[in-house]
Structures are given as C-alpha cells and as structure tokens.
C-alpha cells in the first residue's frame, strides 16, 4: 500500500492532538475535542474543517458547454459568481461523483470528493476537457456554523448564499456540507496557518471528519460512496432537484426513463426509536421491500439514531425493521428532512 497523503496542516493537526484517520488515501483529522462537541460547535457557534484532501481543479470557461454535457445540472446558463452542486453522470445515469462548481467570469473551480479525484481527472481526460490540478498547491478550509458568517465577515467580503468570490488571498464560496451557513475557502498553502490562527482568535473551533459526517447526515446530505455510488443515479438518491440541465447530458435518457417509470431504487431517511444505531450495511425491510442502510449514526441534536437506507423499490409502508446484530429493531421512514 502506498504512503498516505497529508495536507499542509498535518503537523498542526498532530500538535493539536487530533485523532487521525485514513480517509481516501489521506491521513486526516477525525476529531480534536470529540465528535459531539465539535458537532455542537458548528450547530451553536462556528467550526473550521481542513478539507484540503478534496480535489480542486481549475477548468477553462471556454469548455463550459462540454463540461455541461457531463453533469446533470445547468452550469452553462448559471450566472457567473454562482456556486453549483451537481453530479457527474455516467452513460447509464449513475453517479461518477457529486461535486461543487464555483463559477467565475474567467474560469471555473471544480471541487470533487478525495476518493474520486483520480476518477474525475480520468473522466475529464477521456472527454478532452483540460484542467489544472490545484489540489497539491492549495488548501481548502470550510468555515461552518450558526455564527460563522458574522465571524468571518471581518476577514472577507461575504457573497450571497451559493455564490462565489475572490480577492487577493482567497477564492471562496458561501457553501458547505453541514446544514449551517458558512464559506469554503481555497487559499495558497503559505497563507493557511495564518488564516486558521485568525479563525481561532475569533473563537472558531477545529473540527474533524467525524463531526463533518454527523453534521452532513443530520442535514440530510448524501456522501459519495454511501448514498451515491457508481451504481446509483441521482433519481435513486432522491436528488431529482439537481436535474436542472436544459441540454442533453450523459445518461439523460436513463434518468428520464427512471423518472417516468418510477421503477428504480429509492433512498429513504429513517429514524429509530431505540438505543441501537443502524450502521452502513445493516439490512432492513419496509413491508416486503428489502433495503440496506447506507449511513447511520446518532443525531446529536435530536438525540436518537437516524440514517439513510436504499430500498429495492418505493416502500409504501413507513414502518421499517432493521436487523441489528440479529435483533429486529423497529424504525420509521421519514418524508421530511431530519432537522426542520
């Protein structure tokens, strides 16, 4: 096995006594103060995350129509200075990766999952799209939380929600992956430590990938490799809202056929009225429809276990039974998001 990659903040994380985990070939901070504490920093105040493991590619504006063909959302007609969540789809409509685009007047920044950076680069190569890989020369810091904007507006001009901005030091967007307001900031590695020291001086707490996962799950956000894979379409993952592409795009016919026929897998949110967590891979059944848990954990805010499960077809029954280590535990499927 090859050596794990590290971000420019690796020594910084170790000095903070972070628990490190191996994630997608990177050694990344899992938690500093404990996942629940970090979760609450973000829900109640503000936290920052080193997410420099995520792939960052600069794309040429001149190829935007070609890029638009590879994703299920409308990038071409999107206003400049907007950010876009979208999915690279295969010719069978399944997800190659879910990504964020930051659109500027002269170029685009594509942010992809660390586990998929090579796959996305190969996919772009195959489709003759040029890119400049910025992953190894920049960092990406997410500043997220209930009070994140009021804190960080002393450091940069805050764009509207889902909009981008850049200044002499930072390229950033008002986006995130926690369900809270905030910004994600790409910056030169020589500036990262100072940026973080400024955040900490304002009371923004370091948070690891453990709380990033509980926050995104509680915010009903999918994680590639779990809710979205090479075998799952945006329709199946409950992400029909991303299908804004007005032109033809890769896999469109399969995706439209799924929408019309309703014959496909269905991702559902669930909660358990128990003290067991139904974790990834747990089998479940709603009526006679089989399912499998894609992600599950406690919701720290709600205080009970929640998760996503993928069902073979659309369950008509809201009651669901999970086989947790041989015990059948009852739960409910939810139409609404976990947090209102």
């Amino acid at each position: 096995m090859s050596e794990l990659k590290t971000t420019s903040l690796y020594e910084f994380h170790l000095n903070k006594n972070s628990k490190m985990i191996d994630f997608a070939g990177w050694s990344m901070p899992f938690s500093y103060d404990g996942t629940l504490k970090e979760h609450n920093y973000v829900r109640q105040s503000a936290g920052y995350f080193d997410v420099s493991h995520m792939g960052r590619l600069r794309l040429s504006y001149s190829q935007i129509e070609d890029i638009n063909y590879l994703i299920c959302s409308e990038l071409n007609e999107l206003d400049n200075t907007k950010a876009l969540y979208s999915i690279f789809t295969s010719d069978t409509g399944t997800a190659i990766d879910d990504v964020i685009f930051w659109k500027f007047e002269d170029d685009l920044i594509l942010i992809c999952n660390a586990s998929n950076t090579s796959k996305i680069k190969n996919h772009l190569d195959t489709n003759s799209i040029n890119y400049e890989d910025l992953t190894d020369e920049t960092d990406l810091i997410a500043v997220q939380g209930n009070k994140a904007i009021s804190i960080i507006e002393e450091m940069m001009v805050i764009p509207n929600k889902f909009s981008t901005s850049k200044d002499s030091k930072y390229i950033y967007a008002r986006t995130g992956y926690t369900g809270e307001d905030g910004v994600e900031v790409m910056l030169d590695q020589k500036d990262t430590l100072k940026f973080i020291q400024q955040l900490e001086a304002k009371g923004v707490m370091p948070c690891g990938l453990g709380s990033r996962d509980t926050l995104r799950l509680e915010a009903s956000l999918p994680l590639y490799g779990f809710e979205l894979t090479d075998d799952i379409t945006p329709v199946e993952a409950g992400l029909k809202w991303t299908l804004s592409n007005k032109s033809d795009y890769m896999g469109k016919s399969v995706i439209e056929e799924q929408i019309n026929s309703k014959q496909h897998k269905y991702l559902k949110r669930f909660k358990l009225n128990a003290k067991q967590i139904a974790r990834t891979g747990t089998v479940c059944k709603a009526g006679n429809i089989n399912g499998i848990v894609t992600s599950g954990n406690i919701s720290p805010i709600l205080g009970y276990p929640i998760g996503f499960a993928m069902f073979e077809t659309n369950p008509s029954d809201n009651l669901v039974e999970f086989d947790i280590r041989g015990n059948l535990i009852e739960g409910n499927l939810l139409d609404k998001r976990f947090l209102s």
Partner: protein, 120 residues
C-alpha cells in the same frame, strides 16, 4: 479489594471478595469516540467468561464488553442510561458498567503495566 486487571478485549475488572466490577479501559473509550447509547444486562442474568454483557454504541462504531469470568449480574450502573458519556470522562470510575457475583474465579487478567505494553 484486589488490584484492577485488564483483558485483551479492553475491559477492566476489579475483584472484591465474591464479586467484581467491570467497565472498559481508557484506551477503549478513546478508540470508540463519543459513547451515545449503552445497553446494560438485567440483574440476575448469568454469563460465561467471554460472553457479551454490555453493548456500547459510539459515534464511530459499536462495541461490546465481555464477561471476565463466569458470573451473575448483581447491579448495573443505571446512571449510564442517561449519561453514557461518563464512560468517556471516567471509564475506570463513574463509568463502571456492572457488578457481578463470581461463579468461577478467574483472575488471569493483565496488570496495568502489562496492559499498557499490550496496547502500545
């Protein structure tokens, strides 16, 4: 009371006459991360050495604590139902899990020094 002993499965136990108290080690709670739910046995339940007696759900993973010897449960730490985080904050003190009557003495656990070299 005898000295606190440790198992390779990361429980600690301490024998006091015909009874023992058991919990999980500081190392174990650190590896598990935040403990959010715990399922304790019933008083009167009988276990053999190596049986799972307590189930611990943490944000990172789920784990079980195993009986260090054949026993009958005499008391459970019901504080853990409402405050499972006691296991994180004081694993070998307020975070104790169950007390049990020894059916067959087996004090073969590691000393703290032995356990420390086992986990390092």
């Amino acid at each position: 009371m005898s000295e606190t002993k440790y198992l390779e499965t990361h429980e600690w136990y301490i024998v006091d006459g015909d009874n023992f108290t058991v919990g999980i080690s500081d190392f174990a709670q650190g590896e598990l991360g935040d403990i959010v739910f715990i399922t304790l046995p019933e008083v009167g339940q009988e276990f053999n050495k190596g049986d799972a007696i307590v189930e611990v759900e943490a944000t990172k993973t789920v784990a079980e604590a195993y009986a260090p010897m054949n026993c009958v449960i005499t008391e459970v730490n019901s504080n853990l139902e409402a405050e499972p985080e006691l296991i994180n904050s004081d694993p070998v003190g307020d975070g104790w899990m169950v007390k049990a009557e020894i059916k067959e003495m087996d004090d073969s656990g590691m000393t703290y020094q032995e356990y420390e070299s086992f986990i390092s």
